[in-house]
């Protein structure tokens, strides 16, 4: 993003300070874009500030930060109205829990508070955008993105306009993604879009193979990496996604497609019940010793 654009532009407002919210906030900050990060829970915001400081260092370490760009300023807020009444947001990214009702409620509140034409971006791995559009004041302003975790390291982003999304809102959002040096790929609205529709049932199958005793966690991943070129293996990917989020997304897929492969298997459900949510909680299919800040 150019210095001029930074001076003109208001903050990117990110609602939800979980794994994806902090990752998307990091991505914008790294590119010099100011961010207002909103969460109801001050403790979650405090942890997010620690995580973002670490993420900014990780981005530098891995060469994911553009040269000669000072990070944008981070503001945190527990009040959505406060966050939306300051300088006009360049866009609002909703990154709350992968639950249709929760997302719809947040999107409705954001939509009522921002000027017409402000791109309202729901970051979702599975929920059809037109379903969420029913909750907002202006369906034309709403579109979906599906960032992968970590959002500041993975350069390709799935972009999902709904059938009612205005073309100029899609253009604004893809321009913003370009300024963040992402490569958007636009796909048609549907449950799970392309990536989750393909990946999530596969991860579910991988967990089922472990459950059935066909292979160990390590061997499933080693085979997928060594034989098929999967970068991390499906179960390590599950840990990176967050198994709680994965199960939520599988439920969304299963309910909307009827595909039995998307019904979360017992092992995934048990891990969520036991609090073994993956990397962010310190343990999932693998043990990470300590939870990531």
């Amino acid at each position: 993003m150019t210095a001029a654009a930074r001076e003109e532009g208001g903050p990117l407002v990110v609602v939800g300070a979980g794994v994806m919210g902090t990752g998307i906030a990091t991505l914008a900050l790294v590119h010099g874009v100011p961010v207002t990060l909103v969460d109801l829970d001050r403790a979650v915001l405090d942890r997010a500030e620690v995580a973002i400081a670490r993420n900014l260092r990780t981005a530098a370490l891995l060469g994911a930060a553009p040269p000669d760009t000072a990070p944008g300023a981070l503001t945190t807020s527990t009040s959505l109205p406060d966050a939306l009444t300051g300088s006009t947001a360049v866009a609002v990214v909703e990154a709350v829990t992968e639950d249709p009702a929760t997302k719809a409620a947040v999107l409705a509140r954001v939509s009522a508070a921002v000027p017409e034409g402000t791109p309202l971006i729901s970051n979702t791995s599975s929920i059809p955008i037109d379903e969420l559009a029913a909750a907002v004041a202006r369906p034309a302003d709403l579109l979906g993105t599906h960032f992968m975790n970590p959002a500041y390291l993975i350069t390709t982003v799935e972009v999902v306009p709904g059938p009612r999304t205005a073309p100029d809102v899609v253009a604004s959002a893809t321009k913003l993604l370009g300024e963040l040096r992402r490569t958007p790929i636009v796909v048609r609205d549907s449950p799970g879009f392309v990536t989750s529709r393909l990946l999530h049932p596969m991860i579910n199958d991988a967990a089922r193979l472990v459950e059935e005793g066909v292979a160990s966690v390590e061997d499933v991943d080693a085979l997928m990496q060594g034989c098929l070129g999967h970068p991390t293996g499906p179960l390590r990917t599950a840990d990176l996604i967050g198994i709680d989020n994965l199960v939520d997304a599988l439920d969304v897929l299963h309910l909307r497609t009827g595909d039995e492969r998307s019904r979360p298997c017992g092992l995934l459900v048990a891990k969520v019940r036991d609090g073994h949510h993956g990397r962010k909680s310190g343990r999932g299919f693998y043990d990470y010793e300590e939870a990531l800040p």
């Binding site: 670490r54 260092r57 990780t58 370490l61 891995l62 991390t232 010793e289």
Partner: protein
Amino acid sequence: MTVSVTPDTIERELVEFLETRTKAGWTATRDLFGEGGLSSLFAMELVVHLEQRYGIAISGADLKLANFRTVRAMVELVVRLRDGG
């Protein structure tokens, strides 16, 4: 940190740390992220570990993957930053 920590000690400690964390065997010159197959995200865990264990701060131009690619490279970084600090 006491002056008795030699480069050899750091090297041995780092190999032990990697073996504990990855449940695999390591040498001082094995490439962690190439043939070693570790996630590049693990590099950030190494940064934090080195800072906490050896009382150093890694920042600026030192914050690059090449400094964490092998145990030997990490030992050199730690020694240099400890001497400088």
